[in-house]
């Protein structure tokens, strides 16, 4: 089977695929960083050299490079920094994925219906979205934590409550310009029902916008998750999350500087990578949105 496909595709196919990929002018460094992040998140137990929560006081406060078994050193309790960073990637990716995914689905659904129906639903949801767009996220998150208690669900809910609005606003704008086009009018005349028109005829035309906003929002979401973890509003202390790790290093920064340094660099580099990638995607798919 495999040989048959290879024979059919031949070396020419690979060359074309290679050239096409190169023509995309992908931002290679950000893509490479994102791949590392995803591998670390997906296969943390395989990639990490040690157990991230394994306490070994005798190995405590090893500086980076002091012992090659712990390349980035250990924390006060002797936990391996590199392994904690790798498991932290998993936390970051999981929370961002769930929160951003939920926000995108909710926001897109609201935006599609609001743009298509207009009227009171549009007015109410868009005014709410305006209010949610600018409102200080940390404040929202803190109120949620007071109601629901600290935890991963609170962080996710706080992120969803802030990101849905951007999706709703942009998708609605798209729908307004699409819904008077001939193919939508034709579908209406043919008697197609509203949900089907939205799903089959309008939604596919908003996918570009959806991808652009998602990629531009990832960095913000990662930062938000990190700040909430740092403030102790998210996962329990001791769990491997980058924000918590920075916070753990804060008190002992003079003595064990690497505790805060590395997770902070990890956050910055990941956010930078996603921001560059988002910019690239926006320019590639829709140069009109440059000012976003």
């Amino acid at each position: 089977m495999a040989t048959a496909i290879n024979a059919e595709l031949g070396p020419g196919w690979w060359r074309i695929a290679y050239r096409r990929t190169m023509n995309l002018k992908l931002p290679w460094i950000p893509v490479f960083i994102m791949l590392i992040l995803l591998v670390c998140a997906g296969f943390s137990p395989l990639v990490a050299p040690h157990d991230p929560t394994e306490i070994n006081i005798l190995n405590g406060k090893l500086a980076p490079g002091e012992n090659l078994s712990y390349p980035l050193g250990t924390d006060i309790l002797g936990r391996d920094m590199l392994s904690r960073l790798i498991y932290g990637a998993r936390t970051t990716v999981f929370i961002s994925l769930v929160a951003l995914g939920t926000g995108a689905v909710v926001g897109t659904a609201v935006g599609l219906v609001a743009g298509f129906r207009e009227g009171w639903f549009d007015a109410i949801t868009m005014r709410t979205a305006d209010a949610a767009l600018g409102f200080p996220t940390i404040l929202v998150a803190m109120v949620i934590v007071v109601i629901m208690g600290a935890g991963i669900e609170s962080i996710i809910l706080a992120v969803v409550l802030t990101v849905w609005a951007r999706f709703a606003r942009m998708i609605r704008g798209d729908v307004l310009s699409i819904k008077d086009m001939d193919f939508v009018v034709a579908a209406k005349i043919a008697g197609v029902s509203m949900p089907i028109i939205i799903w089959r005829h309008i939604f596919p035309n908003t996918v570009n916008t959806l991808m652009i906003i998602t990629s531009l929002q990832v960095g913000q979401v990662v930062l938000l998750e990190a700040s909430l973890s740092f403030l102790g509003l998210g996962l329990p202390v001791g769990d491997p999350a980058w924000g918590i790790m920075v916070s753990e290093g804060k008190a002992v920064i003079l003595e064990v500087w690497w505790l805060s340094l590395f997770p902070g660099i990890a956050i910055t580099v990941v956010v930078l990578a996603f921001n560059y990638f988002g910019d690239w995607m926006r320019d590639a798919l829709d140069p009109k949105l440059r000012r976003l």
């Binding site: 200080p136 940390i138 803190m142 700040s227 920064i253 805060s260 902070g264 910055t268 956010v271 921001n275």
Partner: protein
């Protein structure tokens, strides 16, 4: 214009009402306040009496209205932890936060605008690259981490600046810089791009052809028009300032309301939580309303929408 402001005003009031409901619900979801106030030695009779005294025997909507009435009059109740009125504690802490936010906001404009102009005028030179790098990093680096690293560098290693608490001017430098960096980054990018647009217009070209010195062209003719979007954007950096100030106040041990709120949450001190959340919400709503009015004033097209 009036309709526009009215809609914005209504939106602000609704935002505050939702916020007040959220904090009201939060205090009711987490146990019986009467039981909490009574302590371990109270009898059933004391309990009923106390419930009546603080109005807990009434239906929930009535309780909410009573709560709202008190809040509007500035009465948030007494903190069970410190025994002080929550309003007094709030008033004690508020100036520190406002001062820090004010300094950070000024810094955003004073540093951000010239840096953006420099980036645009010296396009594709080392200045431009440094400006871009500064902006990109300001958006990506988490402020709480930058704060810790600056404390390590300027406080511990170099010993140049104080790293905690409120005091003389030197106490403001580190926290205000960290707090403003994110917004500054946005301003730099915005001023740079609108400056590039303006430098390309006919009237700037004419000013150059006329033989005006370059400095005159940039500062007298181009900057005025390039800076309008930045001024309106600066209102948006406000939410960022409020967001950032919680973590910054924690890291620099700044005695403001951000730290008060976090402390209130960890101690489950509801009067304090209610007072700080609503004060922050009010501050945000009022300032964004002012920004919207300013925006409509500067940009007449928006008034008639």
């Amino acid at each position: 214009m009036q309709r526009y402001i009215l809609v914005r005003l209504l939106q602000g009031v609704v935002t505050l009402l939702v916020l007040s409901m959220a904090v009201f619900i939060s205090s009711h979801l987490t146990g019986d306040p009467a039981l909490f106030l009574l302590g371990a030695e109270g009898t059933q009779e004391d309990y009923e009496q106390l419930k009546k005294n603080i109005g807990l025997d009434k239906p929930i909507p009535v309780q909410y209205l009573v709560f709202l009435g008190n809040v509007v009059q500035g009465d948030f109740g007494t903190s069970p932890i410190t025994g002080q009125s929550a309003r007094d504690t709030l008033m004690e802490r508020l100036p520190a936060t406002l001062e820090l936010a004010g300094v950070a906001f000024l810094l955003t404009l004073i540093v951000g605008i010239p840096l953006g102009v420099l980036s645009a005028v010296k396009r594709d030179t080392i200045f431009d690259h440094i400006g871009k790098f500064f902006a990109v990093l300001g958006i990506a680096a988490p402020s709480f981490w930058v704060a810790i690293m600056l404390i390590l560098l300027f406080g511990a290693i170099l010993g140049w600046l104080p790293t905690f608490g409120r005091g003389g001017i030197s106490h403001y430098i580190l926290p205000a810089f960290v707090l403003s960096w994110g917004g500054m980054a946005g301003i730099v990018r915005l001023v740079r791009s609108s400056m590039l647009d303006v430098l390309d217009t006919e009237y700037v070209k004419f000013a150059r052809v006329k033989g005006l010195p370059e400095r005159m062209v940039v500062y007298k003719h181009a900057l005025k028009n390039a800076v309008i979007p930045a001024l309106t954007f600066s209102g948006l950096t406000l939410a960022g300032l409020l967001n950032g100030s919680v973590a910054i106040e924690v890291v620099f041990a700044w005695p403001g309301i951000g730290r008060l709120l976090l402390q209130g949450i960890t101690q489950r001190d509801f009067p304090i939580i209610q007072a700080t959340v609503l004060a922050a919400g009010l501050f945000y709503v009022v300032v964004s309303l002012l920004v919207d009015i300013l925006y409509a004033y500067v940009n007449p097209r928006i008034r008639y929408e």
